[in-house]
Symmetry: C2
Subunit: 120 residues, 2 copies
């Protein structure tokens, strides 16, 4: 048997097992990255506020800007991020573009987050 060059905390077998299990269950690099990327999108209170508005109605950009009391540009930049990550979809109607939730997952994920917070 080869010697272990990576001992730690005086544990041997535990370690081998852990490595094996983790290698089996850990998602691929790209999936981990995408997951983090997705949660990053939820990690900004402006975007969360946008989503809470979209929970209630399909709205255009300037309405969002007014309701949230922010500039059109700031909202637009954030909508772009939400759309790139498929949390939101858009539809043109004349000069306006209306945004709505892309997916009911969004509600579920935010609801889970709320649960966690309230449980303190």
């Amino acid at each position: 048997m080869a010697e272990k060059e990576t001992e730690c905390c005086e544990s041997y077998e535990v370690h081998e097992n852990l490595l094996k299990i983790v290698n089996e269950t850990m998602p691929a690099e790209t999936e981990l990255y995408d997951l983090a990327e997705l949660f990053k999108v939820f990690g900004d209170s402006t975007r969360i506020r946008i989503l809470f508005v979209l929970f209630e109605a399909e709205v255009c950009v300037c309405d969002l800007a007014q309701v949230l009391n922010m500039t059109q540009s700031a909202i637009s930049h954030q909508l772009r991020i939400l759309k790139q990550n498929k949390l939101v979809k858009s539809r043109r109607e004349g000069k306006s573009i209306f945004y709505s939730l892309a997916d009911e997952h969004v509600r579920t994920i935010i609801a889970q987050g709320c649960d966690h917070i309230e449980e303190t």
Copy 2:
């Protein structure tokens, strides 16, 4: 009736209704902030990898560092963030400190994230 100084997209009543509904359903400022803060914690692939290890076992810091091939310091800094946000708890055993999931919500939230990603 008072005049509206905040017209937009030529919509009037829609707007009033939206404002009313949003004001009723939008969480408080502090809750929005806490929510974003929580998701920010999930928004880093190092922390996600740590969580995936903890899904499988309770482990000490140096084991985490080895399994994830990162420095002890980097892992320790991230564990601190996970702990502050109550995603992880710790227990001392001699010289080592063992970390484990604080809460099954963590699994659920990550699972929802995975669902969303795989659904493309």
